[in-house]
Subunit: 169 residues, 3 copies
């Protein structure tokens, strides 16, 4: 299990796809994005176009833990930030959902790569919802990082190793 | 002296507490947070609840340099971002206060761990006060990092070493 | 070629200047800042004052690729974030300009150091222009990082190596 963190347009998805493709196909892409507007629709189409043969895409806006428990073979989850957004908009219990996700990840049968945006390194947002969101994202990242074999932080498309596989941070 | 930087909910406080607890108790916790509202009151209560026996908490919203000069034994300062906020709201000279703090840190008798939020990695804020704040925070971090024996940057609860103890960055 | 990334007031410019000054003078400073307001004028004056003898400053708000192709000797570009802002305000094609810049960098005769702000690690901005800007900045950083011999990420004035010279990331 690898957790891929980084900022906007830091190359997280491309890095994560390349990681998953080191295992034999078919690869399952668990997509959490929902096409609310044209900007999002375009972004989703671009991501799909980049992934080639061998990928099976499944839309999973909220039921991520269940999907990870079901799928066999290598899995890419892209991305946790949108999953958390979907849950928050739906009024879900974020702490419970995060715990359930971590437990599904721990049980995953095959290689699993999770992508998420680091959103907590700017000025404190004015907006209480945005503050609650970045708190939930930070807690989720900490929880999954404990479970993960490897954590990388992407800067300009390049991975900085935060938790090395088989090593100690 | 260790400087612990990182984003919101990146595990800075827990990491810093564990560092201080490697020295023999009693440990002094210099708390800069002021309970302006319920969100803050809850956050402070959660932090206090996590710290166990052996900790002495002292509220120091602004007079941090004096407190560091007085205390004997291991000290945790949590956090510099709120200290800077308190000073800014009080109209203090941030450059002078930062210099005074750095000099108090250099003179500290025992182990000293300082926690601060990295806030300069988002889009430039619209708000002039927020820009001034992140400039002051960035300058303070640079100043203290020069003084520190060790600087770590927390990502998802895991420390990335920015300045290794006894080494060169 | 070195790409120096980091947040606001993270010590990027001072680090980049020191890098360039390891080569023999004269050093060319390609300044992209435009003095729109007093805050900016003051910032520019401070930066100029810090640079000593041996520096030749040239204002290049937008025609950066051409300037890099012309100059002989060591060059510092400070900073790409403002260059991108200037281009965006002028309605330029950011993808084409980024590609042209990367190609000019690849052809640079002498040592070249480029400074840019990491802006993608905060909460998603409300503002569509800000989102487009951080996407363009992220893509530019990825493109230049592929070309660069070395990429560093500054935290509190200290460089974390993202891409080591002559090594693999």
């Amino acid at each position: 299990m690898t957790l891929v963190l980084g900022g906007a347009r830091s190359g997280k998805s491309a890095h994560a796809e390349a990681l998953v493709e080191t295992s034999p196909a078919p690869w399952t892409y668990l997509a959490t994005a929902q096409a609310w507007d044209d900007e999002m629709r375009e972004r989703i189409a671009l991501h799909r176009a980049r992934r080639g043969e061998g990928w099976v895409t499944r839309d999973v806006p909220t039921e991520l833990a269940a999907a990870i428990r079901e799928v066999r073979g290598p899995v890419l989850v892209d991305c946790l930030t949108l999953w958390l957004t979907n849950l928050m908009l739906g009024g879900a219990d974020l702490a419970a959902a995060s715990e359930d996700l971590a437990s599904a990840c721990a049980d995953a049968a095959g290689p699993l790569v999770l992508v998420s945006n680091e959103v907590g390194l700017g000025i404190v947002p004015d907006n209480a919802l945005a503050r609650a969101f970045r708190d939930a994202a930070g807690r989720l990242h900490q929880r999954l990082a404990r479970e993960a074999d490897r954590v990388v932080f992407l800067v300009a498309g390049l991975p900085m190793v935060v938790k090395p596989a088989g090593g100690h941070a």
